[in-house]
């Protein structure tokens, strides 16, 4: 039943953008209490699904998101510790089980294709219904820069709820009113100064009634939220003890190496296992089908990872190259360019009569921009460890989607979901690659060959590069019109590319997906600029290549297109690029402030100093909204030998609403710049006859330390609740650099990766 209902509702979301009749009649559901009580150790008390307190006062916070570098261990613990008034030095964390209260609600609501300025009852209703729906049938997911925003209320409520119970217990013991008690640093304090530690109170507090509506602090009373707080997960990451997915070490671990079809989506037609079986330590050889958007092949299971690899190389396999045997990226890119030129696409945003405005314009400019398919290239190569025991199974994996991981493993093993336990370990980078479960289904199918023995399936770096689910390529066409006074009067933009969400619905849920996919046009249609007359559309092009979410998703390329063409418009109008942007933000003080903060930090308008080797430098600016936050960046560039593009300094300003952990926000902005620069300067995969040409870090380069700029960050004092932080630093850097290169050389680069003629 649950599956049917989930399929129905998700299908509806995919097709219509979410109107679910009837679900609104369900009672509002809380996000505090799990269906099963959290497991506790001796003397420890679980107050709700989010926090346990031990007799010695140690506070263990439930981590329902995956730590993949973005700092959720620290920021989420801060949310709960704030309302609990916990002793920060006693706060620990533990990865959550799978439960509905941990489902990600915010990212689905934010995924609705609605312009952020839209304010009406229908939109509010759809968002409310979607939130309720996702509480029941959504999925646990870390992504979309949503973790802090998603858990902003539940985790503070959980802390406040536990605090009220601790206070009630202390008050009862002292025979005074709870209202007369205060809490501080892990203790309840009586008016006369007596103190009781949370550890000593925990057992009695657990007997108190669950508070119905625990009061939350007003932000002015925050002590920890808003303070730059060092990461809690540093110790294990500097002494080698942190356990990533690849470090799973269940007793008797075996290792699998897979010879995968070199053609994406292909499979092994037949194979000769004999040479592989002759290698020392080999336990089994088994063919695996392409699963969940992945590629098929033949796996060798051995007692040692190197012997498994050596044996897999010995396999003699005849391939069935499948549907992508004729797929190449160059003609596919041309198809996108044709679509961007010839098709009208779905208009995500329209205002005024753009065609009339263009026809009446005194001056028109147009341009075409391109961005390639991109691999995720997380440092931890794809791997997954599975123990199959006939009627149950255990999975150890670094994943952004534990529930989908469980479902994928269960299906591959022919087990019900409930028979599979998933242990989420640290992620050696996610960036969207670990939202996919192709490798988890594959690892489960492989482990089925050796029941009772855990098997770690591990890909090589080459496989990680060549069997990714890539960031979709995209082509965008722009036309702008200006009146006789050089004022912008028309903005017309049609992009074309593959849509990710329909593919994901099919891969993850077996659903036919359709309808407008916000991620195709996000970054193009949902920006703050006040266009005079505009039409912003996207033409979804179906190609057999599997594509996936890549850090900042549609924004990753749409920001480059839009901010590049905005810069072109500024130059066409003969206006400074900063001033031109300011003129389009008269009703948007937040974005205007962010833009001006970055410009001020960079001393925009003053001559930029020479590079250390004396080379001339120039600056470019870009502004982009994503995941609820607004980010502006100024990049300072010069050219090295052979026209090598060098980025010396980047000034970055952000308004991310309430800044929970400024230290973590700075980390994400600095890292986002480097991540975005890797793509801007080096990124892209080429596919020929279904086979990815790049393989490892020599031909799929990511930025090195000696190419890395100095990044200076300004965090504006934002209001209200927290917005996204993990991704918004990525999108503006490519256009900021391209715009700087135009200022330096006069060459307008409209294609990624950036390369000067």
């Amino acid at each position: 039943m649950a599956t049917t209902r989930r399929k129905f509702i998700l299908g509806t979301l995919g097709i219509t953008g979410a109107l679910v009749i009837g679900w609104g009649l369900m009672p509002p559901r809380q996000r505090l209490t799990t269906s099963q009580p959290l497991p506790t150790s001796e003397g420890e008390v679980a107050f709700n699904g989010w926090v346990r307190i031990a007799r010695d006062g140690e506070v263990t916070v439930t981590l329902a998101k995956s730590e993949m570098g973005q700092g959720v261990v620290t920021s989420l613990c801060m949310l709960l510790a704030e309302e609990l008034d916990a002793d920060w030095s006693r706060v620990r964390w533990q990865q959550s089980p799978i439960d509905n209260i941990y489902n990600n609600i915010v990212s689905v609501v934010d995924g609705l294709p609605v312009h952020p300025d839209t304010d009406n009852f229908a939109v509010d209703t759809v968002q409310w219904l979607t939130a309720k729906t996702m509480r029941e049938i959504g999925v646990m997911m870390t992504g979309g820069s949503s973790s802090v925003k998603d858990l902003w209320r539940p985790m503070r409520q959980a802390g406040a709820s536990a605090r009220e119970m601790l206070v009630a217990a202390a008050a009862a013991q002292w025979g005074i009113a709870p209202a007369d008690c205060q809490t501080e640093n892990g203790e309840v304090i009586a008016p006369d100064g007596r103190r009781l530690g949370y550890g000593a109170l925990a057992a009695a507090a657990a007997q108190q009634a669950l508070p119905r509506d625990p009061a939350l602090k007003a932000p002015v009373r925050f002590k920890r939220i808003g303070q730059a707080t060092r990461r809690l997960d540093t110790p294990g990451k500097i002494d080698g003890s942190a356990r990533f997915g690849i470090d799973a070490l269940p007793q008797g671990l075996l290792y699998a190496s897979v010879r995968m079809c070199p053609t994406l989506g292909g499979r092994a037609q037949r194979h000769d296992a004999a040479p592989a079986r002759a290698v020392r330590g080999v336990k089994a050889v088994t063919a695996v089908e392409p699963l969940r958007g992945g590629t098929g092949g033949v796996a060798v299971i051995a007692d040692h990872p190197w012997r498994a690899r050596q044996a897999a190389d010995q396999l003699d396999v005849t391939w069935d190259h499948g549907a992508l045997a004729d797929f190449s990226s160059a003609p596919a890119m041309q198809r996108l360019a044709d679509a961007a030129r010839d098709e009208r696409g779905f208009a995500f945003f329209e205002t005024g009569e753009v065609d009339a405005a263009l026809a009446g314009a005194a001056k028109r400019i147009e341009a075409e921009y391109r961005a390639p398919w991109l691999a995720h290239a997380a440092m931890e190569p794809i791997n997954c460890t599975v123990l199959f025991e006939g009627n149950k199974a255990t999975v150890w994996v670094s994943t952004q989607v534990p529930g989908l991981a469980r479902a994928a493993a269960a299906e591959a093993l022919g087990l019900p979901d409930e028979a599979v336990t998933v242990h989420v370990l640290m992620l050696g980078g996610g960036f969207g690659r670990r939202l996919e479960v192709d490798f988890i289904a594959q690892a489960a199918a492989i482990a089925k060959a050796v029941p009772g023995q855990p098997v770690q399936t591990m890909w090589s770096r080459e496989q990680d590069t060549r069997h990714d689910l890539y960031r979709p390529a995209c082509v965008a066409r722009f036309e702008a019109g200006f009146d006789a006074a050089q004022r912008l009067v028309a903005w017309k933009n049609t992009s074309a590319g593959q849509a990710i969400v329909p593919q994901v619905l099919k891969r993850a849920f077996g659903l036919p997906g359709g309808g407008p996919d916000k991620t195709t046009s996000e970054g193009a249609f949902d920006q703050a600029y006040e266009w005079p007359a505009a039409r912003i559309a996207h033409a979804a092009v179906e190609l057999p290549l599997q594509v996936g979410f890549w850090r900042s998703v549609g924004h990753s390329h749409q920001a480059f297109f839009k901010e590049g063409f905005v810069d072109e418009c500024a130059h066409a109008a003969g206006v400074d690029p900063l001033a031109f942007r300011e003129s389009l933000l008269r009703q948007h003080p937040k974005q205007l402030a962010v833009l001006q903060a970055a410009a001020k930090a960079a001393n925009w308008g003053s001559p930029s100093p020479a590079a250390p080797d004396g080379a001339r430098t120039a600056r470019g600016i870009a502004l982009h909204d994503s995941f609820g936050s607004s980010v502006a960046q100024v990049a300072e560039v010069s050219l090295g030998p052979d026209k090598a593009i060098r980025v010396h300094r980047v000034w970055c300003a952000i308004d991310c609403g309430l800044a929970v952990n400024p230290a973590g926000i700075r980390q994400q902005l600095e890292g986002g710049v480097v991540f975005g620069l890797s793509a801007a300067l080096h990124g892209g995969v080429d596919i020929v006859d279904g086979q990815v040409q790049q393989s490892n870090f020599h031909d799929q380069q990511i930025l090195r330390l000696n190419e890395s700029p100095r990044v200076e960050c300004v965090i504006l004092p934002g209001n209200g609740h927290p917005e996204g932080v993990g991704e918004p630093g990525v999108p503006p850097i490519a256009p900021a650099v391209a715009n700087a290169l135009f200022a330096l050389t006069g060459q307008r680069l409209r294609s990624l990766p950036l390369k000067l003629a």
Partner: protein, 151 residues
């Protein structure tokens, strides 16, 4: 065939093909998982360990080539340099996902042992072989400079 070497001060005998990369001996045979697999081609530095005190890439160093040598991994590295680096890494809040950081620290430690007061160029030269996908480079430079500051 067995090979004997010293790992983190302890003599160990490994029964593996002498052509096995040291990385897999450390991770699978010795269960020292702090040393990470990243590329298998000495391109990323995630697998950096010390052999007789010098930083090497364990993913392309064969077992037979380190027979009898003194191997140190992130789990066993000791001394004033790594202590100063760990303190600086914590102060500067360097890590993000952390996957590359064992290798970063082993490279930085070898640098400080060879050159206790590296300037910015020396740090860039020594550390540019270690990739970090999260982009912690700026803080790595800052933390090494801090660790190298006399106190």
């Amino acid at each position: 065939m067995t090979t004997t070497l010293k790992v983190n001060g302890r003599d160990v005998t490994v029964d593996a093909d002498p052509d096995t990369p040291l990385l897999w001996v450390l991770r699978a045979d010795l269960q020292l998982t702090g040393t990470k697999f990243g590329c298998g081609m000495s391109l990323c530095g995630a697998c950096t360990v010390h052999a007789n005190g010098a930083a090497i890439r364990s993913c392309t160093t064969l077992l037979k080539d380190v027979a009898g040598q003194d191997i140190t991994t992130i789990e066993g590295v000791q001394g004033p340099e790594i202590a100063a680096l760990r303190a600086a890494w914590t102060t500067v809040d360097v890590v993000q996902c952390g996957y590359c950081q064992s290798g970063q620290l082993m490279s930085a430690c070898a640098l400080l042992k060879a050159n206790p007061r590296p300037d910015a160029d020396a740090i860039r030269a020594a550390m540019s072989g270690n990739l970090c996908r999260c982009g912690t480079y700026q803080r790595i430079e800052e933390a090494i400079a801090l660790a190298a500051t006399p106190r």
